[in-house]
């Protein structure tokens, strides 16, 4: 079994909207293994994005513990969290979130530029690595275009390349296919899967598309801020973590390797 790279223990997240308290996550506990292709599924408002926010260190839990890449996020200050995001986590956003003033190459390279390393030996490595990623996502001939000149699918490919440029341990994708047509969505998913297998990066993506859910090695299904299914497909047998942990609703789960497309 691979190492646990992310761990949530009894995590609650409460938002305060004026005088109303909204409990987005209710005592969530889960573990994610390095190198997995993880799907967090559920309807709108179930808490998918909230979990990604907590794992992505862009938000903190109201209570409970979140450990990302061996670090307890509640113990870290703003700079340390930024550093953790920068080094260990890549982001793929639903709306792509490319920087409009930078061309494709600059967008992909941006996290490296934020790193502040400017030695010539780094520059050469950096160039090769950026070129490789852009080529891998099939946008070699669009390298100097601005995001506004690309289609939605192409922009999301750029976002994937940008998410991987720092060679992070984890890539978070918040509904990466939501703004794309189904064919493009499928190709984006295949690309993410390819990168997951090629680079060994842990991919965690949220979705409410049942077809995409089936792509995952590890499925976490949410409803009303609770995990209703937590199933890791390991070899031909899936492990029902929810049953094993005894905290979430038990789900009958048997899956075969041949279930994958």
């Amino acid at each position: 079994m691979s190492d646990i790279i992310i761990s949530l223990d009894k995590v609650r997240k409460v938002y305060f909207l004026d005088t109303v308290e909204v409990e987005a996550l209710k005592d969530i506990s889960l573990d994610i293994h390095a190198g997995d292709f993880v799907s967090i599924a559920g309807p709108s408002g179930s808490g998918k994005t909230t979990i990604l926010n907590l794992i992505g260190c862009v938000d903190k839990p109201t209570s409970g513990t979140v450990i990302v890449h061996g670090k307890r996020t509640s113990d870290l200050d703003d700079d340390s969290l930024t550093e953790l995001r920068h080094r260990s986590i890549g982001f793929i956003f639903q709306s792509f979130n490319l920087i409009p003033v930078l061309n494709i190459r600059e967008n992909v390279e941006l996290p490296l530029l934020l790193d502040g390393r400017s030695g010539s030996e780094h520059k050469a490595d950096r160039k090769d690595w950026v070129d490789y990623l852009i080529e891998s996502v099939g946008l070699k001939d669009r390298m100097l275009h601005k995001p506004a000149e690309l289609s939605g699918g192409q922009r999301q490919r750029v976002a994937i390349a940008r998410a991987l440029v720092m060679k992070p341990a984890i890539v978070l994708a918040d509904e990466p296919t939501a703004n794309l047509d189904s064919a493009t969505g499928e190709s984006i998913l295949r690309l993410m899967r390819h990168m997951n297998e090629t680079l060994g990066t842990t991919f965690i993506f949220s979705t409410h598309d049942p077809d995409i859910v089936e792509e995952a090695d590890h499925l976490i299904r949410l409803r009303d801020g609770r995990i209703v299914e937590d199933r890791r497909i390991h070899g031909k047998t899936s492990i029902d973590f929810a049953v094993a942990r005894g905290t979430n609703e038990a789900v009958d789960a048997t899956e075969t390797e041949g279930g994958q497309p």
């Binding site: 703003d78 982001f91 709306s95």
Partner: protein, 499 residues
């Protein structure tokens, strides 16, 4: 640097807002550059005229409560400006300084001119030693008619052209070199003093305005008479031994004590006896010598320093006049007579003070306008930041620390200031060059005095350009302060909410 790259890109992407802010900055720089250049031109013209022609870089005056112009005008008093009692000490102090080029003692006041018993007009007079004056102001006075007076000559007067015209307007016969005229003035203690002087020549001031062009030069002793000071025309007073003994032991305070006590005749007799003894003793020793020899041994020449109201000082090129003023002020404090040390602006009076005040008022106005401009720019920048919530949130999410966001906003403002500044300065430069060609005509006498002539020819002031740019940069950075705070408050989680 990525922050600079992002800032530059954002300026291009948000062209309208960049243009709006850029235009505000450009106009600001233009107004500052033009305004300060015009004021600098007027002020430097005035400075050149006064420093090189009338006041020197700084001056020491007799004790007054308020600054006094070199024409003797002072606020709050109609009396004649007091003299500098210990001028020798100042001269010695200044002689020891390496930053002092030269000094000139001067007397100044207003006098009336007439011929016979007819008063023909009045004007300002400088009482000077003519050679010292010409050495101190070598380029400002031209002899139009007649001769320069010699050192021992007197009493003489060098009439200025306007004064000559004034006299000739009412005189029965033409006034010119050789004419004897009457000068009179109301001295403090001496009442009205009248002196007859010979017109030695007619002069013209090369740099002047309406007021300064009429100044007449007169020999120092005549001026001392007219102002009610003791003159040294006949040399220093010669005192007998008895007078010398009396002066040496004289205590002015004793005049007002024991007024009603009968004086002790033995005391007075005692002093007289001492003097008599001295004479007898001397007489005994001077057997066979003449009376002159006796007088030489027993009479005393009083140690009297000529009276002057002003001591003008020129500093060497590149020397710091304000430092000398500071040192001289400290020295004057030590002397304790209450003499005043002042710069050329105080010496020049109303015109120079007005120019300085105009510059101050202009800068004050600019400061008020700057506050309004800062508010406008701040609003536009805050709107710009709010429109880029997701972009800034994304930057933060993918690992940009707060300083990257802060630098991005600061770079945007700095780039705008540089571009708008260059444009504003370029337009200002063209306008100044055009105005320099055609000149600005003074609309009235006040502006004529301010311009130092009928036409002001603006010069390009580097100081004004730098000041304008620094002002705008400060305004820009000031205006970006709050938007930067707004930007820094944007949390990375914003990026997850979608566009």
């Amino acid at each position: 640097m990525i922050a600079a790259r992002l800032a530059w890109g954002n300026l291009g992407l948000h062209r309208r807002k960049s243009l709006l802010i850029g235009m505000i900055m450009g106009m600001g720089i233009l107004i500052l550059f033009l305004g300060n250049s015009l004021i600098d031109t007027a002020l430097s013209g005035l400075q050149r005229m006064f420093v090189q022609g009338y006041t020197g870089d700084l001056m020491i005056t007799g004790p007054t409560e308020f600054p006094t112009t070199v024409l003797g005008e002072t606020a709050g008093s109609e009396e004649v400006l007091p003299h500098i009692a210990q001028i020798k000490k100042y001269e010695d102090f200044l002689a020891s300084r390496s930053d002092v080029a030269s000094t000139l003692p001067l007397l100044s006041g207003q006098v009336s001119f007439g011929i016979g018993e007819t008063e023909l007009g009045s004007g300002y007079c400088f009482g000077v030693n003519i050679e010292d004056y010409r050495n101190f102001f070598p380029d400002n006075v031209t002899l139009v008619n007649g001769d320069w007076p010699t050192t021992d000559e007197g009493p003489w007067v060098l009439l200025s052209e306007p004064t000559l015209a004034l006299l000739n307007k009412s005189a029965s016969s033409p006034v010119g070199p050789g004419t004897k005229i009457i000068m009179s003035a109301l001295a403090n203690s001496a009442g009205t003093v009248i002196r007859e002087v010979t017109v030695k020549g007619v002069i013209k001031f090369n740099q002047s305005n309406q007021q300064l062009a009429g100044i007449t030069l007169v020999d120092a002793d005549t001026m001392r008479d007219l102002l009610g000071f003791a003159s040294l025309r006949d040399g220093a007073p010669v005192l007998s031994a008895q007078e010398a003994a009396f002066v040496a032991g004289f205590d002015p305070e004793s005049l007002f004590t024991d007024l009603f006590v009968e004086s002790d005749p033995t005391t007075a007799n005692g002093v007289a006896q001492e003097v008599q003894d001295a004479k007898q003793g001397d007489s005994a020793q001077s057997t066979g010598q003449g009376m002159n020899s006796f007088l030489e041994q027993t009479n005393f020449v009083a140690d009297v320093v000529p009276t002057w109201q002003f001591l003008l000082v020129r500093v060497k090129p590149g020397a710091d006049a304000s430092r000398l003023i500071s040192d001289l002020s400290a020295f004057s404090e030590k002397i304790g007579d209450g003499d005043r040390v002042q710069d050329w602006i105080s010496g020049a009076g109303r015109v120079a003070r007005t120019a300085v005040t105009i510059r101050l008022a202009f800068n004050l106005l600019v400061a008020v306008v700057a506050v309004v401009v800062v508010m406008i720019m701040m609003n536009v920048l805050v709107i710009s930041v709010n429109e880029r919530l997701y972009e800034i949130g994304t930057l933060r999410a993918i690992g940009a620390k707060r300083r990257v966001v802060r630098n991005m906003i600061l770079f945007e403002t700095t780039f705008l200031a540089l571009i708008a500044g260059a444009a504003g300065l370029l337009v200002g430069l063209v306008l100044l060059l055009v105005l320099g060609k055609i000149g600005i005509r003074a609309p009235n006498l006040f502006f004529e005095a301010l311009f130092g002539g009928q036409v002001l020819t603006p010069m390009v002031s580097g100081r004004a350009a730098i000041t304008a740019f620094l002002w705008i940069l400060a305004i820009g950075l000031g205006a970006s302060w709050y938007p930067t705070i707004v930007a820094l408050r944007i949390e990375p989680v914003v990026a997850m909410r979608g566009d």
